[in-house]
């Protein structure tokens, strides 16, 4: 029986190793500085790169964070500090349900809400990603705030500091690391999202040109490149995969190493 359990573990870990090794070996053999600084190739063109996709991904994530992070953090604060049991558990339930939806459904939602009015755009994509971020940030913020001992709050209140100042200057400062962890996790999660981006923005091969226009996207480019018939596009797919995975694994590994959370 013990042997079976270990076998299951080995079987589960094999794909992980293969995927990681593949991405790094194929990515490394295809990546060069040229690819990182030149924009996307047109059909049939040789060379080309992923520079505009990197730019577009960064812009989209920043916009999504501007909406998603404040909402998530404030919701987390409410759950931990203000909500009574009934309200909190309801909000928590709804958050869990929201985080359980497939990202493509969120993409369709953003399409019906935004794309139908202003067209395929960064704004629509960022909105979809923000909705995906909110539950993650909310939950991690709440957990981080709960770790701060009640005695710290009591000490601050006993000194006559008002509740909101206690929160902002003392409790949140104590939970800062956990909150940042949650935000970074959410960013790592949405950086790799391609389904909602496909529905709200579509493919775009140029540079950023305004908030009501689409931008290129790394994750979506992987899909576009992978199913294309051109050899150099496929190589670009592996290069994009390496860059994207490197970003995401870097964030995850960094969080593991620098935070003392048992598991995130």
């Amino acid at each position: 029986m013990k042997a079976l359990v270990w076998l299951a573990l080995v079987v589960a870990l094999i794909p992980l190793f293969i995927i990681i090794i593949e991405i790094f070996s194929k990515g490394a053999s295809n990546i060069n500085i040229d690819i990182l600084i030149s924009p996307m190739p047109t059909v049939g063109e040789r060379g080309g790169g992923i520079a505009n996709a990197i730019q577009g991904t960064l812009i989209t994530i920043c916009l999504a964070s501007i909406l998603g992070v404040p909402l998530g953090v404030l919701s987390g604060i409410f759950l931990s500090e203000y909500g009574d049991v009934k309200i909190s558990s309801t909000v928590r339930l709804f958050n869990d349900v929201l985080s359980g939806f497939p990202s493509i459904v969120i993409g369709i939602f953003s399409y019906t809400l935004i794309v139908t009015y202003i067209g395929f755009s960064v704004m629509a994509a960022a909105f979809a990603l923000a909705i995906i971020m909110i539950p993650i940030v909310t939950r991690t913020t709440e957990e981080a705030l709960k770790i701060v001992p009640l005695t710290v709050r009591e000490a601050a209140l006993a000194l006559g500091i008002s509740r909101w100042r206690t929160l902002v200057y003392i409790v949140i400062r104590g939970a800062k690391r956990g909150i940042v962890t949650g935000i970074l996790l959410a960013i790592a999660r949405v950086a790799g999202e391609s389904a909602p981006v496909l529905i709200t923005m579509g493919y775009w091969r140029w540079w950023f040109s305004g908030l009501n226009r689409p931008v290129a996207n790394l994750a979506l480019n992987i899909y576009l490149f992978a199913v294309s018939p051109f050899e150099n596009w496929r190589n670009l797919a592996w290069a994009s995969a390496l860059v994207l995975t490197a970003i995401i694994l870097f964030i995850n590994l960094g969080l593991r190493i620098f935070t003392k959370e048992k598991y995130i």
Binding site: M1, K2, V5, W6, A8, V11, A12, L13, P15, L16, E22, I23, L71, S75, I77, F78, G83, I87, V91, F94, D96, V97, L98, G100, F101, P102, I104, V105, I108, F109, Y111, T112, I131, I134, P135, T138, L150, E154, L157, G160, S162, R163, V168, A188, R189, G192, A195, L198, I199, A219, I222, A226, R234, A237, W238, T245, I248, R256, Y263, I264
Partner: protein
């Protein structure tokens, strides 16, 4: 968790502060409460809006096909403009089913290994690796599925499967590499991390008194583990349902390997098919007229409702499990 009582805001007579400070305090607290409360309630608004907008977006299709959309087996955007989603639902059910068949035993093994059979330090490292698997984006799984997994299965696994089981309909027919079974396998690889880490948590939550009691009765390791598993049963069911929700909603990876072919039934497990999520990703950008888009949004609505039911089910079951554990262990 204990709460700080609200008397502090409303009765400030215990505070020896000037009126100006008092007003400032009062205002600040109210603003903070309003701000956080409004943010927290935005979740309700978002969920309500999602439901309203999906129904509104698919209204054309709902009016046109009614229930026929759910039980129709035809998808013809080009000529007759008829849409039916039953095969898509089948495709989703079958691929997720395959994923659970393959993934659940492996995940349970991993969960047990991490919580029962391993020194804590090693378990920490391996847990971390398993969770890294969950962090890899689905589009990268899809890329790997196209270029590595599908060719590997086509050349080294499927021919043998066909040689052994080829007399059944399921394993007959031409082998492309992609297809229903490949889709199921890639989903299995993707849900193993989710189910493993939840089941590890569930096993770890089983109170040690259970294990100690078993061991003191002279039970073997395996008998002890069996008791731990039965104790954690409903939590495990919750973990599996969570993984199912993940599999049902998976889009990019599956659309890259399943072959994207609309048909009532595939001729075998090696044949191409479609799922609810895959058809949205694949055809949404090509949908040229309103009814077509509306039908795709209705597919999204079906997906929405399916995942909603799955989520609520998982939650009810795991909550009951937690309550049971608390009741027995008084943690």
């Amino acid at each position: 968790m204990k709460k700080i009582k609200n008397y502090y805001i409303f009765s400030n007579k215990f505070e020896s502060v000037s009126i100006k400070n008092f007003r400032d305090t009062f205002r600040g607290d109210n603003i903070m409460m309003l701000l956080t409360g409004a943010s927290a309630s935005s979740v309700f608004i978002i969920l309500a809006l999602i439901l309203i907008k999906l129904i509104e977006g698919s209204w054309l299709s709902i009016q046109r096909f009614g229930l026929g959309f759910l039980i129709g087996t035809e998808w013809d955007p080009a000529i007759s403009q008829v849409f039916g989603a039953l095969p898509l639902t089948f495709g989703t059910v079958v691929t997720s089913g395959i994923a659970l068949l393959i993934g659940v035993p492996i995940s349970l093994g991993v969960g047990l290994a991490l919580s029962e059979y391993m020194p804590r330090r090693l378990s920490f490292i391996i847990s971390f690796m398993v969770e890294l698997l969950a962090a890899i984006p689905s589009v990268i799984y899809g890329l790997w599925g196209i270029f590595t997994l599908a060719p590997f299965l086509r050349d080294n696994v499927y021919p043998y499967l066909q040689a052994i089981l080829g007399f059944t309909q399921l394993f007959s027919g031409p082998i492309y590499g992609g297809g229903v079974l490949t889709g199921g396998i890639i989903l299995a690889i993707m849900i193993v991390p989710t189910i493993s880490s939840v089941s590890r948590d569930v096993f770890s939550a089983v109170p040690n008194s259970q294990r100690e009691a078993m061991i003191s009765l002279g039970a073997t390791k395996w008998e002890t583990v069996k008791i731990v598993m039965s104790y954690a049963r409903s939590g495990l069911i919750g973990a599996v349902i969570l993984g199912l929700g993940r599999a049902v909603g998976e889009t990019m990876a599956i659309t890259m390997v399943i072959g994207n072919k609309f048909q009532a039934f595939p001729s075998s497990l090696f044949d191409a098919w479609y799922t609810l999520a895959a058809i949205i990703a694949n055809e949404f950008t090509e949908a040229t007229y309103d009814l077509y888009i509306s039908a795709l949004i209705e597919v999204g609505l079906v997906l929405f409702l399916v995942t909603l039911i799955i989520n609520i089910l998982a939650r009810v079951i795991t909550l009951r499990a937690l309550r049971l554990m608390r009741g027995i262990a008084r943690e």
